[in-house]
């Protein structure tokens, strides 16, 4: 997966979004095998339209069923049909969230706490904070939580608070 190409397409179209999930944890804390890029997008029509343009530039594909899997439509409004989409793109798998469990309805608040970051090749992205990553883990049923991730996030937050 060319993560740079995915983040670059989102940045080029000025999509308001946050990097969340395993890739964010990997970049900030610990190498952990992850197979997709997860982004949380601001859920408003202007932003979803920008997102759709970015998805089309990435040759993204999605379908209501696997047999109807095809290029995403030109009309962005398909993005309003559900809260999460798992897509394929020419550069790898991309998960798009219009809302995130544990942080429901708090995009603006999380955006303010987000960390402005750049990849090794200089591609800009905003990363969900440790505090909010932890909130996502804690919202999961215990059987789905990643205990090591929770432990590392708690320790990182503690260290930051002690500074």
């Amino acid at each position: 997966m060319n993560v740079d190409a995915i983040l670059q397409a989102l940045d080029r179209e000025q999509v308001d979004c946050l990097l969340i999930g395993g890739m964010n944890f990997l970049l900030r804390h610990r190498p952990e095998l992850t197979f997709d890029v997860d982004v949380w997008v601001r859920d408003d029509p202007v932003n979803l339209e920008r997102l759709n343009r970015a998805l089309r530039s990435l040759d993204a594909q999605w379908g209501p069923t696997e047999t109807e899997w095809r290029a995403v439509p030109d009309d962005w409004r398909w993005l309003q049909s559900q809260v999460v989409f798992c897509l394929t793109t020419e550069h790898g798998a991309l998960d798009v969230f219009r809302d995130v469990r544990g942080l429901e309805g708090r995009y603006d608040e999380c955006r303010q706490r987000a960390l402005a970051s750049v990849t090794g090749t200089g591609v800009k992205y905003a990363a969900l904070s440790d505090q909010d990553m932890l909130a996502c883990q804690e919202a999961l049923p215990p059987s789905q939580r990643k205990p090591q991730r929770v432990e590392i996030l708690r320790a990182a937050i503690q260290r930051a608070n002690n500074r």
């Binding site: 970049l27 992850t34 594909q61 899997w69 999460v84 550069h91 790898g92 798998a93 990849t119």
Partner: protein, 63 residues
Amino acid sequence: MDWDQLKLEEERKRDAAYDPAQRWLHIQQTITWAEANLPLQRRRNRPRTRGPDGQTNSMPTGQ
């Protein structure tokens, strides 16, 4: 469909639709990209390096 079911169904559909050769290529690219984007002390495929917080990268265990 609740949140968990929807996410699981989305992942299942994508797995079914993914071209296996392309998926394998994407996984290889992800590993390469992640390695290049981690700070030295967090890389696995490098000599041990101590980071500012005393953390070292782990060595492959073969497990």
